[in-house]
Symmetry: C2
């Protein structure tokens, strides 16, 4: 139970988090920027606030800035021609939003709950990256982190059964879980997103998500406290699926 340290995040300053390319910290998520780097980003950035449902950036839109989340949860998604929506990632404080190609956003980014984020104009950011190698390295580290994360997501999607996708999903959220007093095996996961959003992330129907979760409850591995709090009773089953 070493995690749970969002203490480092003041809502007022940029912060970049991820697993560093250099080892250390036992493979845990750490700050990729020192104070100087954060100050530099703060210089060019503007703190912005988004209510739930707000679109930070839309697929195909000409890029003007990327965002660094300091509070709240953001989802990025893409729409397919048959009207389905695929959620590519849930982004937390310390993450960057705004992958682009040919200076156009690839995905739509939407606030899942109330979000505060630093808006970093792309032109200023590029100049900064050109002249600050440390910042450049931090962004490279972050990109590699996101790449690893996306690969894990991909492996989740390759699982055929809803049950296993759900278990891997819960496992990915485990690091962010708060420990339960008196039960080191258990933890309470906070899921701010709706069932439909989970379904779009897992490539399932919301019905399948619901059925899967309740099946795990019946098996005695989970307990639901409302819709957005999940108590993991046996963390062993989850850990087995890290692959």
């Amino acid at each position: 139970m070493k995690d749970h340290q969002p203490a480092a995040q003041q809502a007022g300053r940029p912060i970049l988090q991820g697993v560093s390319l250099r080892g250390g910290a036992g493979g845990g998520r750490v700050a990729l920027l020192d104070a100087a780097g954060r100050d530099e980003l703060a210089t060019i950035g503007t703190l912005t606030r988004f209510p739930r449902g707000a679109i930070l950036q839309a697929e195909g839109e000409k890029i003007s800035a990327i965002f660094n989340i300091t509070e709240g949860l953001v989802k990025t998604y893409r729409l397919t021609e048959d009207g389905k929506r695929h959620v590519l990632a849930f982004l937390f404080p310390g993450d960057l939003v705004g992958l682009y190609e040919d200076y156009r956003y690839l995905n739509t980014a939407e606030a899942v709950n109330t979000v505060t984020a630093y808006r970093l104009p792309i032109a200023a950011l590029e100049k900064l990256l050109e002249r600050d190698p440390a910042l450049n390295l931090a962004f490279l580290s972050k990109a590699c982190h996101d790449l690893r994360q996306t690969q894990r997501h991909e492996i989740m999607l390759a699982r055929r059964e809803a049950r296993q996708r759900l278990l891997m999903f819960l496992n990915m959220l485990a690091p962010q879980a708060s420990a339960i007093a008196g039960n080191p095996q258990g933890a309470v996961l906070s899921l701010p997103m709706r069932r439909l959003e989970i379904a779009d992330y897992l490539g399932l129907s919301p019905e399948a998500v619901s059925r899967g979760l309740h099946a795990l409850v019946r098996e005695g591995k989970l307990r639901l406290h409302g819709l957005h709090q999940i108590e993991v009773l046996d963390r062993g089953d989850l850990a087995a699926l890290t692959g």
Copy 2:
């Protein structure tokens, strides 16, 4: 990793390809390194040759170097505890192999056919990245490129029907296709990998891949010339799924 031999010098020079972060080239895949950058990599690198089936690096192994492919095709995969194999990517000349975390490879990389690649020792590469901002930026560009590619792959996997996954797969290979003389609509795709490898990449059984391909043949959209050459008769259907 016992079956690799140093290769002749003329087999290639380091080359890094991808869609640049800066626009230009109409979003096409371009060289991310200038001559100077390539020379720098050549200085620390060793050209190496791998026969089909050779393991360039194994999941969980302590990292010693990453590879820059100059010829041939590499697949990266991860094994799940139920014995299934998920292929994360097919890597072509101009690509990098060796994503790691905590200085251990995340995935296994295997040569699909005869491969030549530059072996770049990680320590030397890190030093180079520290003192050369241009190289650093090129690697950041490449990481973003791979991230976009992985997201496309993810969206493919989220498709429910085998037919659509196959179409998106062919569409991703389209840029590498050689045009057919006299038919601007058509192209010949080269698929060096086996059906099983395609299946592991698409999250399908090899039977489903076979059935899907032949269904497209029956519809008159494809023609097979042997197992590794696919002629695309109507490129329109593919383009519709760019996702």
